[in-house]
């Protein structure tokens, strides 16, 4: 049993990357669902995006062996950067207006 696991670990294949990606995705989702702080939620979103990136790269490596996955992943990174810039700006404004970054307390659209 242990020997099987060890040999499996020594020969990285597609499933290894997918497992890592699934773990990262689950962690990101967990962060989004459980954290009260808006910044933590944003970090969870980042984790999810990166999980997707890992998938893109892994599938591109183990299917066509082209650079398509890399290109998409680069796009995702750029979009993630833009998203964080806007997200943090929104959080800053929220903190100034509501005096909290707790997502549960921000439930009024008009103030």
């Amino acid at each position: 049993m242990i020997v099987d696991v060890l040999t499996w670990l020594q020969q990285p294949g597609l499933s290894h990357f997918l497992i890592v990606s699934a773990i990262v995705f689950a962690l990101g989702l967990y962060a989004i669902l459980t954290r009260k702080n808006a910044i933590m939620v944003l970090m969870g979103i980042e984790l999810i995006l990166n999980a997707a990136n890992i998938n893109f790269l892994a599938f591109s490596r183990y299917s066509t062996h082209s650079l398509d996955g890399h290109i998409v992943a680069l796009f995702v990174i750029i979009l993630a950067a833009a998203e964080v810039a806007i997200g943090l700006a929104i959080v800053l404004n929220i903190v100034q207006n509501f005096n909290t970054a707790n997502v549960d307390e921000i439930d009024r659209l008009k103030e």
């Binding site: 989702l29 669902l33 459980t34 062996h65 997502v103 439930d107």
Partner: protein
């Protein structure tokens, strides 16, 4: 001791400090004494390992180059060329083994010194963590066998330097200095990056040996030989930034805002020497022209910084400019072809300059304590005009400082004499071979200036009478953790550790280990071959040595007559040479030139770009919007207020719909027609014309109000009703919504499985 074992050991030397960083940055609050003992003992451990590597390299594998490679990224074959990839690896040759030991030695002693110097600091644990990060990064530069890792480690030392200069970031000047160091280094690094890209595009590898072999076999970047010079000079740009050469030297004096042990480790002994080390690494691929650029850059920097150091009054600033000057010396040495001498000076300079900075740290520590006891918060504890007479109170600091000063001034029987003498002989030989006589003239005058300003510093700080009689009683010698590193560095400043002959390093172990590599560039472009150069150096060695002793003696004599015996009044001299004095005091106005050209230039370009954005780009967007508003206003106006245009509109739409109905009737009418079909198509025509009239005329009023609005209102009402229903699950908590969405996705997954 197989080569593999050496590689394994070097990996330990490399990564243990990183372990320090990770451990301390996360857990320093939970470890007793913030973990300084862990960091220091680990770095001393790496010192032992590095010495083992050096000794076994010296004993067993003197002529071998130990190398190992890992293929990190494999791009396979792209666009029909040769396979592309990135290889990472470790290279231990004699230069790397020596440098490894130097870095670990200085790092270990600076760790020890910091325990005393930084005691009670607000971010004590974090400080040691950053020291670990720096040591790790620096070892990366030393051990790498390719440009890729070199660049990565290069940026990492820049980062750790930034973090440590800004250690006391509450002080505006410290955070400014950190930013300045980072930004100024970027300028040089861009050049280095371009150089690396040129080489990678040509040779498809980052490895030093692959690139050198490629050049040797006659492949040139861009297919032409001048590109080789360009690539060499671009790579040297990195060294201009990191080793603080003119014109990017401006960050190093400001970097003195960091803690003094950091100045000793990073800004005197190791990181700033990384540029010199990099030039030794790439020495073989430098063409004669590139080396000439390097030599003149180094010579000018050495002269510029030495002249500025003469008039500085801050103890650390004098040492900073002295460092810039000595780095220029090393770069000049490499540029003229004195490869061994340049690297030798790096090693000896690392010892005595680290010692000088730690000695300055010891003085500042004592001054700080004394000023604190006096309740004086205005006097600058680093200003040498407020010192003097510290010799009796701080004997160990004084005597070690004295030895370092002798070494940096190039007095016989010190390590500095050996290395400086070799460089001076090298410049002389270079002038004989190529006719560039300016370089040895500058080199010898800088040697004299160095002796002058270093002894000025020593005399003003330690000799004579103290500036304040009350303060001197509070001055006391620093604790043992601070004096022991001083003593070790002072011991290592004697000639005996480098060569048994006090007047020539040529027979010592150092010269035996470090031999200039043969140039790989075609002989027509290369500088003088190492063999011929060595022979010329041998011929001029004796006169160069005598002359260097003479200028050093003159410098020391000048310092004593001016500042100790006061035969010459320094202030009167400054008055008499006011224009020159002013230029020197303002550091040749280089910061001002940067302020005017770079900073203001950027601001001016930004103003222009902002104007273009605000006026032209926004103008187009706003213009389109305004045009639309004007057009719509016109139509609405016509429709509501004027009846004649409205009537015209009705008539026009009626005519248009009649025409449309006529066309529709004709097109639906077949060639062979029965009365029935004529009636049918007539009906179609009437329907079409009625419908189109309704649309044209009523479309704006009736149809729009009744049918379109009705549909919209219906949807609104429907969603209102649905909203009322769904309101029950709308809690206003974002995360509940996400949970619902997740459940929905899971349901869909199960559904479509």
């Amino acid at each position: 001791m197989t080569p593999d074992t050496l590689i394994l050991l070097s990996l330990f030397v490399w990564f243990l400090p990183l372990g320090n960083f990770v451990l301390l940055i996360f857990f320093h609050r939970r470890i007793p004494r913030n973990g300084d003992w862990i960091a220091t003992s680990v770095v001393f451990g790496t010192l032992v390992l590095a010495s083992i590597i050096l000794v076994s390299k010296f004993m067993l594998y003197q002529a071998d180059i130990i190398q190992t490679n890992v293929r990190w990224i494999d791009f396979k074959v792209l666009h029909g060329g040769s396979p592309l990839g990135v290889e990472l690896g470790i290279l231990i040759d004699n230069v790397a083994a020596i440098m490894l030991t130097v870095v670990t030695l200085v790092s270990a002693l600076v760790h020890l010194f910091s325990i005393g110097y930084m005691r009670g600091d607000v971010r004590y644990g974090r400080y040691f963590a950053y020291l670990g990060l720096f040591t790790f990064s620096m070892q990366g530069i030393v051990l790498t066998n390719n440009f890729f890792l070199l660049y990565v480690a290069w940026e990492l030392v820049g980062l750790s330097s930034y973090l440590l200069i800004g250690h006391w970031f509450e002080k505006q000047s410290a955070s400014d200095a950190a930013k300045k160091a980072f930004v100024v280094n970027r300028f040089g690094d861009v050049g280095m990056f371009l150089g690396i890209l040129i080489l990678y595009a040509t040779f498809h590898s980052f490895r030093f040996d692959v690139v050198f072999n490629g050049i040797r076999s006659g492949i040139f970047p861009g297919g032409s030989e001048p590109w080789l010079t360009i690539a060499g000079v671009l790579i040297f740009c990195g060294a201009i930034g990191k080793s603080a050469q003119f014109p990017l030297h401006v960050w190093l004096p400001d970097a003195m805002e960091g803690p003094t042990p950091v100045s000793a480790l990073i800004h005197a002994a190791t990181m700033v020497a990384a540029g010199v080390y990099m030039v030794t690494r790439t020495f073989a691929m430098m063409t004669g022209d590139a080396l000439l650029v390097i030599a003149y850059t180094g010579a000018f920097t050495a002269f510029l910084a030495a002249t500025i150091a003469v008039v500085q009054t801050d103890i650390k600033k004098v040492l900073a400019y002295s460092t810039v000057s000595q780095l220029g010396y090393m770069i000049m040495g490499l540029g003229v072809g004195a490869y061994t001498a340049g690297f030798f000076h790096l090693t000896t300079h690392a010892m005595f300059k680290a010692g000088l900075f730690l000695g300055a740290g010891s003085v500042i520590h004592a001054m700080h304590y004394a000023l604190h006891h006096q309740g004086d918060h205005h006097t600058d504890p680093q200003d040498i005009r407020t010192m003097g007479g510290l010799k009796e109170k701080m004997p160990i600091t004084f005597w070690t400082f004295f030895i370092y000063t002798l070494a940096i001034s190039g007095v016989p029987f010190t390590s500095g004499f050996l290395s400086k003498d070799e460089i001076l002989a090298g410049t002389w030989a270079f002038a004989q071979l190529t006719g560039h006589t300016l370089i040895p003239i500058v080199a010898f005058s800088v040697a004299g200036l160095t002796a002058f300003y270093m002894f000025r510093l020593l005399i003003l700080t330690f000799l004579g009478n103290h500036a304040d009689d009350n303060r001197i009683q509070y001055i006391h010698e620093s604790p043992h953790v601070m004096t022991i590193p001083l003593i070790v560095f002072a011991t290592l400043s004697f000639f005996i550790f480098y060569s048994f002959n006090p007047f020539s390093a040529a027979g010592g172990w150092f010269a035996q280990l470090v031999k200039p590599p043969d140039f790989v560039v075609p002989s027509a472009m290369a500088a003088t071959s190492p063999a011929l150069f060595a022979e010329t150096v041998h011929n001029v060695h004796l006169p160069a040595m005598l002359l260097s002793i003479l200028v050093a003696g003159l410098g020391i004599l000048g310092a004593f007559t001016t500042y100790y015996w006061k035969k010459i009044d320094a202030n009167a001299l400054a008055q008499k040479l006011a224009p020159i004095y002013k230029v020197l005091l303002n550091k040749w106005y280089i910061d001002e030139i940067y302020e005017y050209v770079v900073v203001n230039g950027t601001k001016r370009v930004s103003t222009i770009l902002a104007w273009i954005d605000n006026t032209i780009v926004d103008g187009i967007v706003n213009g389109v919007a305004k045009l639309t508003v004007i057009l719509t206003h016109g139509v609405r106006h016509t429709w509501t207020t004027r009846s004649i245009p409205a009537l015209l509109y009705i008539v026009a739409s009626a005519l248009l719909s009649l025409y449309l109905g006529w066309e529709a009737m004709l097109t639906t009418l077949p060639e062979t027609s029965s009365p029935m079909t004529v009636i049918q198509s007539g009906i179609v025509g009437v329907v079409v014309s009625a419908l189109s009239f309704f649309l044209f005329y009523g479309g704006v009023g009736g149809f729009d109000a009744k049918i379109v609005d009705g549909l919209v209102n219906f949807v609104a009402t429907l969603s209102g009703v649905l909203g009322l229903l769904l309101r029950r699950i709308q809690t206003g908590k974002v995360q509940t919504y996400i949970l619902w969405a997740l459940i929905g996705v899971v349901v869909l997954f199960i559904w479509f499985r």
